[in-house]
């Protein structure tokens, strides 16, 4: 309890005019911010040529004719696509697993409250930023050059790039952990590692599961394009059909990918709900 006020508590009377003035000022402030944002967006559009009406009009016709050429979708080669589809699926699962295995220790070292030393903390943050800043397609090209064509370079590229993002999220959720139970575990005489295992990890497990499943979904979508750089999967078939201008096949593959992505999306939604 707080100290007892022996004086009569006189709550200061708020000045109504001042309150109204503040309320009005905050409206103008908000509108001003919105205006600035609009100007920034318009500037970006102008810079990127989005506002060039003639170029857009010229392109529209080509898009329509391309779409017409791609109709109807041609599924006659479907048997050749089963294997690459499984490749893509396996690539996403294997890559995500690598990401999680790498992210747990890196995440613990890159979280301020569990990192043993600030130097380690900054070094790990650097590693995470580095991994995140290399696009997975570039990583794919590097790994194709290193280990040859196939699913393996795709798995490595997705896994490594994912560590950058998954590790950062792990670290962030570890930093936001409720300190009270952690302190309680410390008070029992547990060692540093035990405090992490029993005080920190149980609290962040739901977030970890959430990020992992989301990342798996993302990696599946990415795995469909990894084939374009020769890293296996359905993307390999897609780029092949595109090169020989079989647009009807392209549209068929895109439809299949759409169905698969929707399926993975539904499944990940169900799984994430389970880990609440």
């Amino acid at each position: 309890m707080t100290t007892i006020n022996t004086q009569s508590p006189t709550p200061p009377k708020p000045d109504m005019h001042q309150l109204i003035a503040r309320e009005r000022r905050s409206w103008y402030l908000g509108t001003g911010q919105l205006l600035v944002l609009t100007l920034i967006i318009l500037g970006a559009w102008w810079f990127a040529d989005v506002l060039n009406a003639r170029r857009l009009a010229d392109g529209t016709g080509d898009i329509i004719s391309l779409t017409a050429e791609a109709m109807p979708p041609d599924f006659s080669n479907w048997k050749d696509w089963i294997r690459p589809l499984f490749d893509s699926l396996a690539m996403s699962v294997a890559g995500t697993a690598i990401a999680v295995i790498g992210s747990v220790p890196i995440g613990l070292l890159a979280a301020r409250n569990t990192s043993p030393h600030p130097t380690v903390y900054f070094a790990m943050r650097g590693v995470l930023n580095f991994l995140r800043s290399i696009p997975e397609l570039i990583m794919g090209i590097i790994f194709v050059a290193a280990v040859g064509f196939g699913v393996l370079p795709g798995v490595l590229a997705l896994g490594l790039h994912s560590i950058g993002m998954v590790g950062k999220f792990f670290a962030e959720s570890i930093e936001h952990v409720d300190e009270a139970p952690v302190e309680a575990v410390t008070s029992t005489g547990a060692s540093r590692l035990q405090v992490i295992l029993h005080g920190v990890i149980p609290q962040v497990l739901p977030q970890m599961a959430d990020v992992t499943i989301y990342r798996w979904e993302y990696n599946f979508r990415q795995s469909t394009v990894m084939g374009m750089v020769g890293a296996g999967g359905i993307g390999f078939e897609l780029i092949g059909s595109l090169r020989i201008m079989q647009y009807q096949e392209v549209s068929a593959i895109l439809l299949i990918i759409l169905v698969m992505v929707t399926g993975v999306d539904l499944l990940s939604g169900v799984l994430r709900n389970k880990f609440k």
């Binding site: 008070s187 029992t188 005489g189 149980p202």
Partner: protein, 306 residues
Amino acid sequence: MLHLQNVSVTFPPDVRALDNVNLQFRQGQFTVLLGQSGAGKSTLLRCLNLLQSPTQGLVVGDDDQCLSGLNKHAPRLRQHRRHTAMVFQMHQLILRQSAVKNVLVGMLAGQLAYKSLMPNTKADLQWAMHCLERVDLLEKARTRCDQLSGGQRQRVGIARALAQRPRYLLADEPVASLDPGTANRVLSLIQKVCDQDQITAIVSLHQVELARAYAQRVIALADGQVIFDGPPNALSDEHLARIYKTNQQTVNASDDHPSIPKPPTTTPKEIEDEIQLAQSVQRYVGSTVLRPGHDQHRQCRQQNQS
């Protein structure tokens, strides 16, 4: 024996939470810490467990081992913590986990970390279940703690403390967020298990009646200094007035003050709380003998509301 020698704790920039405290705690006594919020009760308890290391002075544990100034995770310190179990006001359980999992946390000390990755041994589980049985929560062992009531959570917290096989049980306002009935049950439970196991209980409270009902020794703190240390029946009105930094005149004055509207007229919550607190303090100060029973219960409730 636990011993604090000239212990002071200063929080930056310049808050003196404990000021030159000298105390000894012997095995088997039920001790209550009294004091206002901010008087240093929590800091004192946390010093005894070394969750808070003193800025100055020494904390001496069993076997005359000096514990202050050690590394945060030093083995000797962990050994000490194992024997001085803590019970917290907000229970500080991991709510997503079952009661028995939370109790098992109390047995981590002295185990190797790799054991955490193995399945729990039968003996460990038996001990954890036994501890839950002692707080009468065996049927809730596999229930997630976020589905337990406040009193049940606090009992899980006590079971976790018991799982440590402690010599000392430090309870930091264990009943502050509970209703009077539950508060009484939780305190009797602490008293019972400590009596059975010869555990020294050091409990901080802010209800004087509860302190009188349970304590064998009362230590009162104000502004980080010990202002009373003795049996509860030696606790006089003057002491209480000093603890709660008030006296009868000023309480009466504020009670009759015309500018404070009296409940139940609609007043801002803060003012109402202040009035209730003032009234309940007046009751402690005004009556020399506090009768146990329903009268105590009623006051207790009033105190809890404020």
